[in-house]
């Protein structure tokens, strides 16, 4: 039954694409439903995480203070946001939410993901070694692209941008195209097996345990 539902929805998308130059109301309705279902489902991960922190706090697990901190920050942000939304339709109309959003979230959001810059630096230093032909080619392409991405490359040597651009615009194309091709075939293969009910794990969370 579950596989049948997946199969029917998949086929609806195919039929619409191949046989209807415009949209097809049946497929369009189902797709709209899937958008709504996905929206509703997005709270699932949050519920799991909150449950974990609530239990961590209740049972005074290691570092429970941080779980408590998490819950306090979460509750403040959630309720002020909802208050803003319910009163005017825009969450940021609540001044506390807006302040946290603009200052705390912005600073942390921009900072947390940028941290990888440090690690990339040490990874390049430690691992970018000319161990063999493969690694050497990767190293050479990488260094030229790095230098050509920065305007200073041209100042160092006028050939750098030309070589770097060649790597970016020609050299890498076969490799990147092949990832596109095998990725596409992989998607089709996985989808096909799942449609035939040959993939376990797929409905994990709801499937046979």
């Amino acid at each position: 039954m579950v596989f049948a539902i997946t199969g029917i929805v998949t086929v609806l998308m195919f039929v619409e694409y191949f046989f209807f130059p415009q949209d097809w109301i049946v497929a369009s309705t189902v797709r709209n439903w899937s958008v709504i279902i996905l929206n509703i489902s997005l709270g699932l991960g949050a519920v799991r995480l909150i449950m974990q922190h609530v239990m961590g706090t209740q049972r005074r697990r290691e570092n429970w203070q941080f779980s408590a901190l998490f819950l306090v920050a979460f509750v403040i942000m959630l309720f002020t946001g909802l208050a803003g939304y319910l009163s005017t339709g825009v969450a940021t109309s609540n001044s506390v939410y807006n302040w946290l959003f603009n200052h705390v979230y912005t600073a942390l959001g921009a900072t947390t993901y940028a941290i990888t810059g440090f690690y990339i630096f040490s990874a390049a230093y430690r691992a970018f070694r000319a161990r063999n032909v493969d690694a050497s080619l990767m190293l050479i392409a990488g260094c030229f692209v790095i230098l050509s991405n920065a305007p200073v490359g041209e100042v160092i040597w006028s050939g750098i941008p030309a070589i770097g651009e060649w790597f970016r615009f020609v050299g890498q194309v076969p490799g990147m195209r092949v990832f596109g091709i095998v990725g596409a075939l992989g998607t089709i293969a996985y989808g096909f097996r799942a449609l035939l009910g040959k993939e376990r794990g797929f409905y994990a969370g709801g499937a046979e345990d």
Partner: protein
């Protein structure tokens, strides 16, 4: 943007600055309480914003039309809510149905959509000869075609890379390595740009450079 003057804006600016230092204390020093503090605040706020924004979205695309008389909207609403049975061991089976719809739509759209841009257009672009008559353009044309053929052969997974296949697959791997090297180089730009933005903020808050 000018340097803020309002009290709350100033406090916000400095709190943002301090939180940034707390996060960077991790790579620059080691894991510590300040990092954990900032990390937990971030995850909590991130999650709450996510929930608020998604709540608004469900209201917008489902509840409001439902209240406005589009009674069919009750169907995705109920199916969507049923996905939460995943959290109840006895009723987990119910969640298979909403997952089935999501998966079906994902597969249908994915499979129908990938072939043209990722396979067909890629081949067409590879086999369309350059409009330039320069030698370099033709060398590049040859390079990309040979590179693509060899790289696809490298990904033959049920044939040993020996005999006739040995040379082309070996060359294919080298083409792939060049691609990954370029990717590495581009990623360096991405990650360093993010850090650059933070370095600028660091100096702006201290009024070393203008905001």
């Amino acid at each position: 943007m000018a340097y803020p003057t309002g009290t709350f804006e100033l406090i916000g600016l400095w709190i943002g600055w301090l939180l940034m230092l707390m996060i960077y204390s991790y790579p620059l020093y080691k894991e510590n309480l300040a990092y954990r503090f900032a990390e937990h605040i971030f995850i909590a706020i991130f999650l709450a914003i996510n929930l608020v924004v998604n709540f608004g979205n469900v209201m917008k695309i489902c509840i409001t039309p439902l209240l406005g008389g589009d009674f069919l909207m009750i169907v995705p609403l109920i199916i969507g809510i049923s996905i939460y049975t995943m959290l109840m061991p006895n009723y987990r089976w119910v969640s298979r149905y909403p997952v089935a719809i999501l998966v079906g739509a994902g597969f249908g759209l994915g499979m129908r959509g990938v072939i043209k841009p990722s396979i067909l257009d890629a081949i067409v672009s590879t086999i369309t000869r350059p409009t330039d008559i320069g030698a370099m353009a033709w060398i590049n044309f040859l390079y990309i075609a040979v590179g693509l053929i060899c790289s696809v052969l490298y990904f033959l997974l049920t044939y040993e890379h020996t005999g006739t296949l040995q040379t082309p697959t070996r060359i294919g791997r080298l083409f792939i390595m060049i691609g990954l090297g370029a990717y590495f180089g581009n990623t360096v730009l991405f990650r360093f740009t993010m850090l650059t933005g933070r370095a600028q903020f660091f100096l702006q808050v201290l009024k070393i450079i203008p905001m």
